[in-house]
């Protein structure tokens, strides 16, 4: 296979090294521009399967607000994001929902669950701490 040249910004830490990588058959031949060794692990994962936490919203009925914020409970492959969003578009949800409640299991076949990221009380209840 040919040698591919790729560019990454490492987000392992705030420094954000801009690195140029030479890749052949999914393995790294060389990395330049990095200030530490952690970049290698980051680049390997990016080459294999970029993983991210998805945060989005789902529609909810009977609550003060139209949308309930949610997240995946662990990182999922980035390529599944749009499929996940589509699955969430058809969900029927009714307030109340407590924070951390599982809204949907195994989103887009990723093995991760979608969980609520806030408590959503029924319409009319105040947001005061109890």
């Amino acid at each position: 296979m040919d040698i591919e040249k790729k560019h990454f910004t490492c987000v392992t830490c705030p420094v954000g090294c801009e690195v140029d990588v030479e890749v052949q058959d999914g393995s790294i031949l060389s990395i330049t521009g990095n200030k530490c060794d952690k970049v290698k692990e980051f680049v390997l994962q990016e080459l294999k399967e970029p993983m991210r936490v998805l945060t989005t919203t789902v529609r909810i009925e009977g609550a003060k607000w139209a949308m309930l914020p949610v997240r995946t409970d662990k990182p999922i492959p980035k390529r599944l994001f749009l499929q996940a969003i589509e699955e969430l578009a058809s969900i029927d949800l009714q307030a109340p929902v407590p924070i951390s409640e599982v809204i949907l299991r195994d989103i887009a076949g990723s093995g991760a669950n979608i969980v609520a990221t806030r408590t959503m009380n029924p319409r009319g209840e105040t947001g005061l701490p109890r």
């Binding site: 910004t9 987000v11 705030p14 420094v15 954000g16 200030k35 970029p50 991210r52 936490v53 945060t55 989005t56 919203t57 529609r59 003060k64 607000w65 139209a66 949308m67 914020p69 997240r71 980035k78 994001f81 749009l82 969003i85 924070i99 990221t117 806030r118 408590t119 105040t126 947001g127 005061l128 701490p129 109890r130």
Partner: protein, 412 residues
């Protein structure tokens, strides 16, 4: 009504300040919030990256808020929701209004200002063109999408690369809009690097540095914008104009601390931060009035906001319960070479000095951050205006200082 400490605003700064004031011995703490829920802007910041330092967790904004609200529930802090503060005075009287109490006054022993900031809008950057629907700030779009469930447009151009703009580029893309590009007038991005990568690069959204929007077109609705390259003095370059078709222009062009109330009490404001001039205790120029979070200066990270809230809450409680004597001595803290903002602006020899420093220009080479006259030299790999630097100087090191404390950033 009487109070030991009255906290104005229940975003991250106000929540932390109220909790800390109570824990520090002030028993009659009031938290005043104009919205119907606590949490401020955190409620619409549904992305993760909150509380990495404070809680060692990667919370979303609403999760972070709820964690603080849970802590608040374990205190005796009294909350007033749907309550608008209309004025404060130098003698620490707060005037507020809500539908239950009408107009009422609170005589507070101390006050914590935690009103946060507002977004700069079209009027403050002066873009020529028509005035159609579809021009809105990134934060307004964030509220529409994340809380109210409306998509503000289908083809979007974003002006300014502040963090909220970057976050919204990703958010709108996920919700099915086409984000045509982010245009930044400076020659470096405004937001954090992790947001450039995870919000733009991940979705192949282009970022155009040294570009700005020079005209908005469309009568009823935005039909497109003209973008131009800018020169080193940030002036548009003739002949570089390009038409971009879009139905929405999002503005992410900076934040301004919200200090109308502070001005009413005669609190001195800083020309560099637009927030109150404060000391390391977060006390403003008016005795007993403290300020924290983005009303003081715009921070990048909620962890920093929370840290100033903690200091303001603790010291406001000390002031209220009489554990506070005026020592009267203070020195200025001033920005030196390549420093645009240094916060706080005064040091009064009470606590350790935690400095928040915003570099004036990016330096992608090793730098030394110097604090004079205490001979502190901190080595860093780079300095960037979009990443505030925090440095702690212990009180013991400062006791003999008599003149101003100056912070500078120099290339090594």
């Amino acid at each position: 009504m009487q109070a030991d400490v009255a906290v104005i605003g229940s975003g991250p700064a106000g929540l932390v300040a109220a909790i800390e004031a109570y824990r520090s011995g002030a028993k009659n703490v009031l938290l005043l919030e104009r919205e119907e829920e606590l949490g401020g802007i955190l409620k619409q910041c549904i992305h993760n990256g909150f509380g990495l330092e404070q809680f060692k967790k990667d919370y979303t904004g609403p999760e972070y808020a709820e964690r603080l609200i849970e802590d608040l529930g374990k205190t005796g802090v009294r909350c007033f929701l749907n309550t608008m503060v209309t004025g404060i005075s130098a003698d620490r009287t707060v005037t507020a209004v809500n539908s239950e109490n009408g107009v009422f006054r609170i005589e507070a022993k101390s006050i914590v200002l935690a009103m946060g900031c507002r977004e700069r809008a079209r009027g403050s950057i002066g873009i020529p063109g028509t005035r159609p629907a579809g021009v809105l700030t990134a934060g307004t779009a964030q509220r529409l999408v994340n809380i109210e469930g409306y998509l503000p447009g289908k083809e979007v151009v974003i002006l300014g690369s502040g963090d909220i703009g970057l976050i919204m580029a990703r958010r709108l893309t996920l919700e099915g809009a086409q984000v045509k590009g982010v245009y930044e007038i400076m020659n470096y991005p405004g937001g954090l690097k992790r947001n450039i990568v995870q919000c733009l690069n991940d979705f192949d959204i282009p970022l155009y540095l040294s570009h700005t929007v020079t005209e908005i077109q469309g009568r009823e609705r935005v039909e497109g914008v003209i973008v131009s390259k800018v020169d080193k003095k940030m002036q548009p370059i003739g002949g570089s104009e390009k038409f971009i078709q879009c139905d929405t222009l999002l503005l992410s062009v900076g934040l301004i601390p919200e200090n109308e109330l502070s001005k009413g009490a005669g609190v001195e404001l800083s020309r560099t931060t637009n927030g109150p001039v404060t000391s390391e205790t977060m006390e403003t120029s008016v005795p007993g009035i403290f300020s924290c979070g983005n009303v003081s200066t715009v921070f990048d990270l909620v962890d920093y906001v929370a840290q100033t809230g903690m200091s303001a809450g603790r010291n406001a409680a000390r002031f209220a319960i009489g554990d506070w004597k005026e020592n009267g001595v203070s020195v200025e803290v001033i920005p030196g070479e390549n420093v645009r903002v240094v916060f706080p602006q005064r040091y009064c020899f009470r606590d350790d000095l935690i400095l928040y420093i915003r570099p004036a220009k990016p330096v992608e080479r090793p730098v030394t951050l110097g604090v004079s006259p205490v001979e502190m030299h901190i080595k860093r790999l780079y300095a960037r205006p979009n990443e505030m630097i925090r440095v702690k100087v212990a009180r013991e090191k400062l006791v003999k200082v008599t003149g101003p404390i100056e912070v500078s950033i120099r290339e090594r």
